[in-house]
Symmetry: C2
Subunit: 426 residues, 2 copies
């Protein structure tokens, strides 16, 4: 049975080799952090060493101080039995999916920071990990360094989770913060975000909500147990938010935030959305500014619990990756029980079927009639105001009701609707 | 080797029995939650059953719906080999310490919600657990249901933690919230807290800071690796906070909160304090109101991360206890590597040796002279004001400097000092 008695006889002589795939911001942060806090990281891992053996990148890093570790050939990693843990920070699904699958099949645990991969292929990869008795962990894929995947799966394990909602994208939160605090227009705030390096030159994945949608897929899959794919998420970005909306929200006593959200209903189905929402100032999510992220989990026992921190950035994200590496190292003999089931048809329902309150901004040629109609059509609507509000504009908040019905009522009003946003109760 | 082949041959036929010691608020919540979410809890535990076998309480619960489980004899639990996990919710250290020690020695894992016990005997009990290859977990002892012990020990494992600070006591936070938001005097706010059941008839453990001190001991021990006892924590309550201080803080753009705090310095020593502090409104701790708790952890990679939620209450606290129970059940074959080292002499230093900014409120017969002296003695002090401020009162904030030196300067000023509070930079 003992293939290599030498290793087994060394008291505590367990060594662990790591490979990092992708040496961009996160991958280089992982290498930096592993070296910086090496002593305490190794101590926590339960191994005697935890060394980087390979770094995979197609670019030339031969002159880098870690140059000796670099390879451009994935097979170096795949075929080296001494590599027990592979860190995937490549992004995208090609070739990440193929590489991660191969590593898991080869009996290597994989840690990924790649939300696109986990949102698209999480279930398949978790199953592969299970079949091969290894770990597939991805704490860094949501909320950067904020601990969220592990707290949900372990600390809140006694709860039935009913809802999860969060500010999951730092770029859009920075833009909205500038619109709220400095009264900037969307375009100017976007430009500032780009100038600061918070937004990419092609910012569409952020500002159209796709990045947040991938993250809410991962959170919803984890909280509710069935894989949710991005195309099931109703996704709206922040490109249509105007300073008028920001001003109405402010006057109401709240702010507009881009919220990714998944909610369980009584029949065991969920809705999953990403979109700008109004939240009240006293909410723990309202004071999450700039590039920070925060995630709220609503459990039946715990009530609301909120996790706040840096949702992106080199070292915060690396912090989450390395925590997963340590966890993989600790769970070499017995893998962590962790994962969720396959997607299910008709499981993600139309959010219009859920109950909510809506914010509406509209034009009208006859304010008094519009005002009266709004008040007649809804039970206790809240009429909103803002400074320098033109006489042709009306804004209000509906009571909580089934969204489909609320929208049908709004459609019949003598107004031209310019904005409809959900109002949340966190 | 196989003592009972029947059990080993049953596929997945693993059963786990639990005992609960103490059937007060938390203990009854644990029983309620274990029964309410039984199906999903058992599924997560990796066992086929997870059943309550005993509830220990000296009171008569024979007519309770769970009456059949009750016993008044601790030996029933201790001597029953089928009990693998014991939940301790008795509070205090006697007989909790003896009972928990005996259970650990008997090879049973123990989950405790008892901050007094963990603060006083954490190291000893963690060692006992290690010696006997079982788990001793206590997520519920700090922050009620908020996940904090596990995130620090696992999710932030890649970080060197430099500082931890939190609103750790819901009673005092409720009182301060009423003083801040409704302008109530301390005594009136305390009475309201008592009327609402948030404060006990003898509220001293809360309002004098002892409860928060126990919690910061546990957090400091966990973050920095050496047991910190309550007598090493400089502890001040909120009984001296006046509406004048609240008003000055408000005008400055902040609030007063009771903060438990531990901070590492460059020489590897720590300071540990509990006391009312000024924090700015944009801090994530500033908007933590009423009985809520929040804990901020500052790591070298992650930056500041904040955990927010219900710090007390039946089901939130039970949620944390049951999460630990599940973790114990998952780690029967191999215990969780978790704990810290023994206390060390001269490890906890006088907080006066650390740097901070101070808030000062004082009386003076000659405002102009006092004002000039303050400005001469400190580099850019911030002079504060409040509505209806008497001419004999001066309040200011010092720059950041070694606290000992700042206090020496303050002592020489021509003023009669009425309040000195630390100003934090979160």
């Amino acid at each position: 049975m003992l293939k290599c008695p030498y290793i087994y006889c060394l008291p505590g002589g367990r060594e662990m080799q790591i490979a990092i795939m992708g040496f961009g911001t996160i991958g280089s942060g992982v290498a930096e952090l592993l070296l910086k806090n090496q002593k305490s990281i190794v101590a926590k891992s339960g191994h005697n060493t935890l060394d980087i053996k390979y770094i995979l990148d197609i670019r030339d890093f031969s002159n880098h101080e870690l140059g000796k570790y670099f390879t451009t050939d994935f097979n170096d990693i795949l075929n080296d039995a001494s590599v027990g843990i592979v860190v995937e920070c490549m992004g995208g699904t090609t070739p990440a999916y193929e590489y991660v699958s191969s590593c898991l099949k080869a009996g290597k645990s994989v840690v990924s920071s790649n939300k696109e991969l986990v949102a698209a292929k999480g279930y398949e990869l978790l199953e592969l990990a299970k079949e091969n008795n290894v770990n597939f962990l991805f704490e860094a894929s949501v909320g950067g360094g904020i601990p969220i995947i592990r707290p949900i799966s372990q600390c809140l394990a006694a709860n039935e989770i009913g809802e999860i909602a969060g500010i999951l994208n730092g770029t859009t939160n920075f833009i909205l913060t500038k619109m709220i605090e400095d009264g900037m227009a969307f375009e100017d705030a976007l430009k500032l975000a780009q100038d600061n390096g918070y937004a990419e030159r092609d910012p569409s994945a952020d500002i159209l909500g796709h990045d947040a949608a991938r993250k809410i897929c991962i959170l919803a899959s984890l909280c509710f147990g069935k894989h949710v794919y991005p195309d099931a998420v109703e996704t709206e970005g922040i490109t249509n938010i105007t300073s008028e909306d920001v001003a109405y929200a402010k006057n109401w006593g709240g702010v507009i935030k881009l919220i990714g959200r998944a909610k369980l209903n009584d029949s065991g189905k969920i809705s999953a959305t990403v979109g700008p929402c109004l939240i009240q100032n006293h909410s723990q999510l309202a004071s999450v500014d700039d590039v920070f992220n925060a995630i709220l989990v609503r459990g039946d026992a715990i009530g609301d619990v909120v996790f706040y921190g840096k949702g992106a950035g080199k070292l915060p994200t690396a912090s989450a990756v390395v925590a997963d590496v340590i966890d993989c190292a600790k769970h070499t003999a017995k893998r962590k029980a962790f994962g969720w089931g396959p997607a299910e048809e008709n499981y993600v329902i139309d959010p219009l079927l859920q109950s909510t309150s809506l914010y509406v901004r509209a034009e009208t040629q006859d304010y008094v009639t519009a005002f009266n109609e709004v008040n007649k059509s809804f039970e206790s609507p809240v009429i909103l105001h803002r400074e320098d509000e033109p006489k042709t504009e009306i804004a209000f908040i509906t009571p909580v009701m089934r969204e489909k019905e609320a929208r049908a009522v709004i459609e019949k009003l003598p107004i031209k609707v310019n904005a409809v946003l959900r109002v949340l109760d966190y």
